[in-house]
Amino acid sequence: MYTRKILHAVLLSCCGAFSAAAFAQVGQTPTPQQELERSTRELDLARRELEKAAQELGRLSAEAAGPHTAELTNRFVRNFGGFLGRSFLGLVIEDTELGAHVTAVTPNGPAESAGVLVEDTIVAIDGVDLTGQPPSATQKLRNRMRAVEPGKTVNLRVLRGGDYRDIAVAMPTDGGEWFSFEMPQWETPRFEFHGDSSSWSSVFSRSQPWSDFEFVALTPALGEYFGTGKGLLVVRVPEDEALGFRDGDVILDIGGREPQSPEHALRILSSFAPGESLRVSIMRKQARQTLEVKIPDEDAADSA
């Protein structure tokens, strides 16, 4: 059994080291190029250590919760069918007299993107009052959500600080650019707990080929220089890049799916298994091209 306290300490010390490297750069007077490169390397190393610790904490946290929640997890997956093809707000709610009280908002979920905050109370959805006669507010909300198709918008009326406000929440298309579509093998849920949580997130384990890339989501103004109004700009590729990308490429779609952010791109890319091939549409020097990309085998990625 590992201690998460230690992990939290490691996270904090990593963050401190990261700050240290950052301050070392901004605080110093002009120095030789070698000094700047050394600081940059330290900064990069600190970031990698922090990310490694964060991933480890996530894995161990799932492992620690597993014995208590394994049965619930399996029941959730079996009865709920996961998130695939369903619309989700990305909220944890509980019943109160005033409506469905929000106790947690999923980061980067549809509700968070629309502006729903923890401590809000949802009093109506699409004009349906959640208060009053049974069933409960949370049950009424769930009943309504079952009828909402991906890609549609739901309108919430929330009570915040004594005032009512209306919030339109757009459901991700096709089950989600958010979460669900990243589970191509949902029939055998990878979250099912069998005492080994090492595979709880393929986005960690399959991201190796893309780790040293640097991305930025294209803005319309920036896009004018690249001949496209949207896409994901590849700012930097690693020196040993063998997948066919170059600095300045703009990724338009990956296997038919348009990446909205670097995180989204990694979700899509990580949904392809080692050895699989995919087509990536890019803009290179303002001309559209298609790259045939083969995901490296795990052995090759490890040795890289």
Binding site: R4, E42, L57, E119, R160
Partner: protein, 167 residues
Amino acid sequence: MRRGLQALPELDPPPGVWERSLAAADAPRPGPRRVWAAIGAAAAVTSVAIGYLATQPEHPVMPSSTVIVAEAANRPRVPFVALLEESAALEQLLAGMPRRPVMAGSTAATIAGLEDRIAFVDGQLAYAASFDVPQRQREALWTERVDLMNALVHVRYASAQQFVVER
């Protein structure tokens, strides 16, 4: 140390942060425990950074990844209400953090993986709320959520720091 702090570049607010701040100002005031949790987390990170400035020019000590798997102990059981408050405080910290437009693939993967797992835990919590699930199971899920949110806040914080340096 003063010179180091003065040398920090100005940081423009990220898009939408003022709207979120106004919304937060309209929201019910959090309880004192939540405020202290948020202040504590921010102070802890800040104190580490300032502590480093005070010890310049020594190089930062990199924690060994082996430390991660070297200790054995149990986390003490945290009261249920405290878990909810800590989770909410971390959400508020995360909402106020600047976002860096340029991102390394490894950072993007870490954030995506943590967000996916939080989404899955939230799905279970929503499911648990609608069925009669034992309190111990819910506590375990909330504990996991707090751990994951904490990790996400740290990674976002580091990413924002890099943003400051580059500007």
